[in-house]
Amino acid sequence: MSTTQVLIAGFGGQGILFAGKFLAYAGLLQGRNVSWLPSYGPEMRGGTANCSVILSDTQVGSPIVGRPDILIAMNLPSLEKYENEVPAGGCIFVDSSLVNRPVKRDDVKVFPIPATTISTEKGYDTLANMILMGHVIAHTHVIPDEMIRPAMQKVVSARHADLLEKNIEALNLGLNYQA
């Protein structure tokens, strides 16, 4: 019986909401209770965007993640805003290509990955979100590996089916990343 609260934050356009939806679907396909709540304010139009995802074996109470077990910060403002909200023992994942300072907390586990640089170098532009997600799965097992493909099939729309493999490949880059 467990509940995992995830907060994904970054710039609008980085695929924050998509990454959250992928995670939520993976949980749903496992038969778990899930919720996905996006920020929908003016921040979506160019500023910071964030997305609360909860995966739970029991009923989900509040869908708002205020104290994330897993924080995924895709830019510096997001790290600044949420770093201190992660409970002791929690995990912080940062896109170290865009976050140019180390995490200050010493009571949490920190997993940096230069996701944006990797995405550009390996030809997966705009898929830094999935590279990060792979890194998260590798270190937290928040969802089992076998849920990756079925969940991705749910969130990549039929219209963009050609992007399915691309997303999975990007995710695998993060999954197999060695610092």
């Binding site: 939806k21 939520a24 679907y25 749903l28 209770n33 899930v34 919720s35 996905w36 709540l37 996006p38 929908y40 304010g41 009923q59 989900v60 109470g61 509040s62 869908p63 708002i64 205020g66 749910k154």
Partner: protein
């Protein structure tokens, strides 16, 4: 039940309305409910229904009046400032005894306010909103599943009693995604002998009107309507109890406030406080009976709301002020944290009154 899929609350309610037989949607965009209109724009033309983006909220509600008068299941949706604009039309619907569904995905006010979630239209919804002596049926979902389920309930009740129904949601309910199993049931068909469907020369014309210049006639209409309200108060109160069996502190919350409060009740229980929650699902009729029963057993009540204290009046009225009722609230689009609700529960348990 159908396979569970992830849907936004706004989309789930729109699809549920279509499944419930609604083929006439009239709307006007406003955050945070625009997905309802977007969904209807996509779906209605494919199933022979009508999606119409009106020139204003006022036009949209008057189109609902027209479709409802013709006996069609129809609806409109908006968010707080847009509902204020619709209020004149809603009063006319009440006066004409027309059914229909009005969705309010609330945002902070007053005035243009903000776009973040709020419950500050509680008074407006439960007291009628427009002018005159009337009530709406008011349903308050607290999950995406209920966003869908209560649409069916709302249409059915609205037509059964010929009273407009308001689905009172908020920005989080509209925007969040949760697994939802859309109900596998067809629309309930309710006979509408009063509808304006054409006489074909076989019956006297029906008249749908809210104008009665003779005061005794208008009083008669109103008294007849209030007889229906009495039946609704007696038979349609809905609420959900959470850990109430041995509760000494009763939290009362609906919608997103109830989701937050559920966490707080769990935390309070872990601290050894016997806390429970009553979640109104119908805000009108307010679940007075459940509250009254709880008052026999609980030593204090905490009303948790996303406004400056509106439902708290109904809580006090329901229990006839026989126990202390404190308020835990945020306003303007802010949502109380579970910790803030826990603090209010602790204070109520200690016997102090929340300022």
């Amino acid at each position: 039940m159908a396979e569970k899929i992830l849907m936004k609350g706004n989309e789930a309610l729109a699809e549920a309305a279509i499944m419930a037989g609604c083929r006439h949607y009239f709307g006007y965009p406003i955050t945070p409910q625009t997905e309802v209109a977007a969904y209807m724009a996509k779906r209605m033309p494919r199933i022979g229904g009508t999606f119409l983006q009106a020139e204003s909220e006022i036009a949209a509600i008057n189109m609902v009046i027209g479709a409802a008068a013709a006996g069609k299941r129809s609806m409109t949706s908006s968010s707080s400032p847009g509902i204020s604009l619709k209020s004149e039309g809603i009063s006319y619907m009440a006066g004409c005894d027309l059914p229909g569904l009005i969705v309010n995905v609330q945002r902070g006010g007053p005035g243009l306010g903000g776009i973040q979630p709020s419950q500050s239209d509680y008074f407006q919804a439960t007291r009628g909103g427009g002018h005159g002596d009337y009530h709406l049926l008011v349903l308050a979902p607290n999950s995406v599943q209920e966003m869908a389920d209560l649409v069916f309930k709302g249409f059915d009740m609205s037509e059964k009693y010929r009273i407009p129904c308001m689905l009172l949601a908020d920005g989080t309910m509209g925007q969040m995604m949760e697994p939802v199993a859309l109900p596998e049931r067809s629309a309930e068909t309710i006979d509408k002998p009063w509808a304006l469907t054409g006489t074909e020369g076989k019956r006297k014309p029906n008249i749908i009107n809210s104008l009665a210049l003779a005061p005794h006639e208008l009083e008669e209409w109103n008294l007849e309507r209030f007889k229906r309200y009495d039946i609704i108060r007696e038979t349609e109160q809905m609420s959900e109890s959470y850990l109430m069996d041995d509760a000494e502190i009763c939290v009362v919350a609906f919608g997103i406030a109830a989701r937050v409060s559920q966490n707080a009740v769990d935390t309070a229980r872990a601290m050894g406080i016997k806390a429970g929650m009553i979640r109104p699902i119908t805000l009108w009729p307010f679940p007075e009976k459940a509250l009254k029963t709880a008052a026999d057993q609980c030593k204090a009540f905490v009303s948790v709301e996303l406004n400056m204290g509106q439902m708290i009046e109904d809580v006090k009225l329901s229990i006839e002020c026989c126990k202390p009722v404190s308020l835990c609230c945020r306003t303007g689009g802010m949502i109380p944290t579970p910790d803030e609700v826990v603090a209010a529960i602790v204070k109520a348990n200690e016997g102090g009154k929340q300022a």
